[in-house]
């Protein structure tokens, strides 16, 4: 695969992950909890199986996606690019760790109630989704380091 295509896929996926975090938490933080609620509702309605807690699809999807994504990590020979990829993966991990904590807060419950979602059921699905993104980010971070070490070992 051409390097530029890999970059587009790699950074594009992380951009989507960060955008999703911004739409869920960032909009609430900015005072637009109704937007946050509508996006959460969209996630809950569009990905009930992929993100369901303890389902086979829910457990396997993140590592499979991460495995595919590992092949698109760009510019493995560049230390700067490797560092950027690693920081990006860690950043996403941290964001979704924070999102998991936020989902247990009264604010998240109020947002879910405002869009007619059962808080208990919805928090479970969203937590699984958030956990999936964390698993995905962790595997990518590990892959970036691993590939770099291998490169160094080869060098």
């Amino acid at each position: 695969m051409h390097e530029s295509v890999k970059s587009v896929i790699f950074y594009g996926v992380f951009a989507i992950i960060i955008l999703m975090y911004a739409l869920i938490y960032g909009t609430h933080y900015a005072g637009y909890s109704d937007v946050s609620g509508q996006f959460i509702k969209f996630i809950l309605s569009s990905a009930p199986y992929v993100s369901r807690d303890l389902s086979l699809a829910g457990e396997l999807t993140p590592p499979i996606l991460a495995g595919v994504m590992s092949a698109t990590i760009p510019q493995r020979s560049s230390a700067t690019r490797t560092l950027i990829s690693f920081v990006l993966a860690l950043l996403c991990y941290g964001m979704y760790l924070h999102l998991s904590v936020f989902l247990t807060s009264p604010q998240a419950v109020a947002i879910l109630q405002s869009v007619n979602q059962d808080p208990r059921e919805s928090v479970s699905v969203l937590s699984a989704f958030s956990g999936g993104v964390r698993t995905f980010s962790a595997i990518i971070a590990a892959s970036v380091i691993g590939l770099r070490i291998n490169k160094a070992a080869e060098g």
Partner: protein, 285 residues
């Protein structure tokens, strides 16, 4: 329950009659029969704060009647309902403790007993918010007024913000419901300071919306000046004591808030207006 609520609301709203001041009272009737032990009502009249003990009626509803203090012309008490939910209490919704306030402006020409139906929120959702926003009829104003304030207070408390989009929508609903109740009861119920402040905070930075709310808040604060319009009918009815009390009351309130006339008298000198009314009472009585 809807029929009873309509009857009670109609009783309050449609039949204001002349009555002796000493017989005036306010009766609260909880529309929900459920026993919510962490709801308290207080009667506030100036510095006086009196806790109210609810009693269970034969039909299972909780109620209480407050005898209003005898006043010269008008009393402006406030009823505060506290929601003091504690951990482990059986309530359909999780919420932090809050209070709602129901300020009144009761003159001598108001019914001898006001019946106020009390509604307690049991659900919070977009559907519930939309339902309340649609309650526009005269017999629905109490339900909308009570529940919309409770939901607004809940969101303000949870989000710690008046400007969050969800809080803002709930506050707008609260203020509109307070305005409707004021309109339908001919100013018997007034817009609370809290509703005014919350609305102004919610629309910080939106000058035109703030101006809309500000106008109604000022209107509510200068409400006592509108009582003056009743003077002629009192004199014509031979209610001279009431007429004298009215002028005295307005003069007293004018001293308390000397700028309120600006929103009601459209450029007239307030002292001249009061002096003219006093002359009219002297001539007519």
């Amino acid at each position: 329950m809807g029929l009873l609520a309509a009857f009670l609301a109609g009783f309050v709203l449609l039949f204001p009659v002349l009555a002796d001041a000493s017989e005036r009272s306010v009766r609260f009737v909880f529309m929900d029969k459920t026993d919510y032990p962490n709801v308290r009502i207080e009667y506030h009249d100036g510095p006086l704060v009196e806790p109210i003990t609810l009693t269970k009626e034969q039909d299972g509803r909780w109620s209480h009647t407050v005898e209003l203090a005898s006043a010269s012309w008008a009393v402006s008490p406030s009823f505060v309902i506290h929601f003091d939910r504690e951990q482990g209490t059986d309530w359909p919704i999780d919420f932090k403790p809050f209070s709602i306030g129901l300020p009144l402006h009761i003159t001598k020409v108001v019914d001898d007993e006001l019946v106020i139906p009390v509604y307690l929120f049991t659900k919070i959702s977009n559907d519930e918010m939309e339902r309340l926003e649609r309650l526009k009829r005269r017999d629905q104003v109490f339900e909308r007024r009570m529940l919309s304030e409770q939901i607004a207070k809940h969101y303000i408390s949870v989000f710690s913000s008046h400007t969050d989009s969800i809080s803002r929508r709930a506050i707008a609903n609260w203020f509109d419901s307070a305005l409707s109740l004021t309109k339908y009861t001919d100013n018997l119920f007034t817009i609370s300071h809290e509703a005014g402040d919350a609305s102004l905070q919610a629309y910080e930075g939106d000058a035109s919306t703030r101006a809309h709310y500000q106008r109604h808040v000022e209107d509510a604060a200068s409400l006592f000046w509108s009582d003056v319009q009743q003077l002629n009918s009192l004199i014509d009815s031979g209610l001279c004591d009431e007429a004298r009390s009215l002028v005295k009351y307005v003069r007293l309130r004018h001293l308390e808030s000397p700028e309120s006339y600006l929103y009601r008298l459209s450029g007239q000198d307030p002292d001249a207006v009061l002096a003219e009314r006093e002359r009219r009472v002297s001539a007519g009585c």
